[in-house]
């Protein structure tokens, strides 16, 4: 854990050093997937707005780039729109009534909001883990992980076994549950349930994993394990995490985006955002938070 954190910080520092002179990618639209600082853009939003009802804005005109193999944290005071933004990235807002999403989300250059794009496909490519652990309570641990694969008709036992094992290993849960794969998912502890949900999301092989305050209902020990896991996972999948905990953002993320009343105030390497924020609102928020 300690080592991982140090590594992450080191990476962050290195990145920021390399980009010391380069402009930050705040509200800029970059058509090239490769950025000057050597990162690959995985996900990009252009002028993304989410509107609830007729007048009130959830978030407005968010343009941002999310880099591959990195963890991006979305922070800001509650009600700032960070979760709203996150849920737009895998079209969860399609399910609500009276919610309007405008703008574009590009995943590997492909617009997820294109008319022909199917939200069901989008959600397979962009997985999600929620605030409260949401294992399917009647399903076994095994069946929980296999749920996504079974949807697409994977019936082959060997394939399922393999993917379930790999996903549980990736979610650092395998050793704890390998002897009781048949017991219900609801029988696990809160932290284990959350890792089970991560395994379930990983099993379908998403390119991006969205995490909406994944540790807010967990105790410190379980939280530490999830944070450790996030560090390991970022090499497999691009992670975007919403957190209300600033320390958590600084511990786990490479990039940080600060949201305030529905706007993206700034997005940059975590190290810089925390040590030297450009925007006054970010500075004020941090000083209020830490003083």
């Amino acid at each position: 854990m300690q080592n991982d954190t140090t590594d992450a910080t080191a990476t962050g520092t290195a990145t920021s050093a390399a980009t010391a002179q380069a402009p930050r990618h705040i509200a800029t639209v970059n058509d090239k997937l490769q950025t000057p600082d050597g990162n690959t853009v995985r996900l990009e939003t252009r002028d993304l707005s989410v509107r609830y009802g007729i007048s009130t804005f959830g978030v407005q005109n968010i343009s941002a780039q999310i880099y591959d193999q990195n963890v991006t944290a979305l922070i800001g005071p509650s009600g700032c729109g960070k979760s709203t933004y996150l849920r737009a990235l895998n079209r969860m807002h399609d399910l609500g009534t009276d919610i309007e999403v405008t703008g574009e989300v590009y995943l590997d250059g492909e617009n997820l909001y294109a008319p022909k794009m199917d939200p069901v496909v989008v959600r397979r490519r962009v997985g999600m883990v929620f605030q409260k652990p949401t294992p399917f309570p009647t399903k076994s641990i095994y069946d929980n992980v296999a749920a996504g694969l079974r949807l697409v008709g994977v019936r082959n036992r060997a394939t399922l076994d393999e993917v379930v094992e790999q996903s549980l290993k990736d979610a650092a849960l395998w050793d704890e549950v390998k002897d009781r794969l048949r017991s219900p998912g609801g029988s696990l502890s809160g932290g284990q349930q959350q890792r089970l949900c991560i395994a379930r999301a990983l099993a379908v092989g998403p390119e991006v994993l969205l995490m909406d305050e994944p540790t807010s209902s967990l105790d410190p020990m379980a939280t530490a394990r999830i944070e450790e896991l996030i560090q390991k996972l970022k090499h497999k999948v691009t992670i975007i995490i919403v957190t209300h905990n600033m320390q958590q953002a600084s511990r786990v993320s490479d990039y940080t985006a600060f949201f305030y009343v529905g706007e993206l105030v700034e997005l940059g390497p975590t190290q810089e955002i925390f040590s030297n924020p450009r925007e006054l609102r970010t500075q004020e928020y941090f000083s209020g938070e830490f003083s």
């Binding site: 399910l95 069901v120 949401t134 309570p137 609801g186 379930r200």
Partner: protein
């Protein structure tokens, strides 16, 4: 139905300083508690009264023997409840069997598929169906449904069975206009609204997180229902089915109007039969002999016992086996 764990009023009691618990409070509470004890009294008195009134029958035939005796002959002063127990079980389980799937389907449709306005219209319609008096449905069935079913369905099946499947004859019997199957079908129609409403409630209890978790895996609508909604709502739906069964057991008028009222077994599908409520309605007013009277009361007591048993089982299932209590 929804029981709050800590009633708000419990907190109220703690919040009020002792000096405000004034005489008015005492008096008001006394009146409220006094009046409301009536409902407890009523529920307790009911089985006692039924038992006292039924006592002569149980003395004459024995509690269990009255249940299993198959003859009901007031003239010969022999009374047994078995034909009515069987008739009640066939009609109510049959009705539940017929009603369950469509009712759950309606509940799924209104909660998961239908747009809001349509869901509202369907809910109103189903609730209105529950509000229509039993006798009105019975009247319609007597003059429209039953004759139509006899001519268009039962007769052709019977004619066909005579030619092709003689083994069926003992089961279906010769079609009469008022019969077991018609009563069962109408009973199914009458319990559907309850099953729909209770299944709807159970589905509404499914946390939004469960649905979202399934959506986020890339499920289609039906897959979300099968993966997240139905497993979660399962116990609630089962409890709802039991409560609907209890409704069916006690449904009186429409069944009494349609079942043909035959007190002797064996019953056939297309022939007349009787149920516990129907025999009470048909014979009670003519039960001048003490034993006849006490026997209809005894049938009532059985009906009470069965109903309360099923209701308690349903609430047990809802409490003990519900997922929300056990896991999340």
């Amino acid at each position: 139905m929804a029981d709050v764990v800590v009633p708000a009023s419990a907190r109220a009691a703690e919040l009020i300083p002792a000096r405000y618990r004034n005489p008015g409070d005492h008096f008001f509470k006394l009146v409220v508690l006094g009046l409301s004890s009536s409902i407890i009294l009523l529920a307790v008195v009911m089985p006692v009264v039924l038992f006292i009134e039924a006592a002569p029958t149980f003395r004459a035939f024995g509690f269990m023997d009255f249940l299993t005796e198959t003859t009901w002959d007031p003239v010969a002063a022999i009374h047994g409840a078995w034909p009515f127990v069987v008739g009640t079980l066939i009609t109510s389980f049959g009705a539940l069997l017929i009603a369950a799937l469509p009712a759950i389907a309606v509940a799924i449709f209104v909660s998961e598929y239908a747009p809001k306005w349509l869901a509202r219209v369907i809910n109103y319609t189903v609730d209105l169906l529950a509000a229509i008096p039993s006798v009105v449905i019975g009247l319609w069935a007597i003059f429209n449904f039953a004759p139509m079913m006899r001519d268009l369905v039962y007769m052709p099946i019977y004619m066909w069975a005579i030619e092709e499947a003689e083994w069926l004859i003992p089961i279906i019997g010769a079609p009469s206009t008022y019969n077991l199957i018609t009563a069962t079908l109408i009973l199914a129609l009458m319990i559907v609204p309850y099953t729909v409403a209770l299944s709807r409630d159970a589905i509404a209890q499914v946390p939004v997180e469960q649905r979202e978790a399934s959506w986020a895996l890339g499920s289609t609508r039906w897959e979300v229902i099968r993966q997240a909604v139905l497993p979660y709502a399962r116990t609630g739906i089962v409890a709802g089915l039991l409560l609907s069964l209890a409704r069916g057991l006690g449904e009186t008028m429409a069944v009494a109007m349609l079942i043909g009222n035959r007190n002797r077994m064996p019953f056939t599908l297309f022939g007349p039969a009787a149920t516990m409520p129907s025999v009470i309605i048909n014979e009670f007013r003519e039960a001048v002999e003490p034993l006849h009277y006490s026997s209809t009361m005894a049938v009532g007591l059985y009906l009470f016992v069965v109903t309360i048993g099923i209701n308690l089982l349903a609430s047990y299932i809802q409490r003990k086996l519900s997922i929300s209590k056990g896991v999340l």
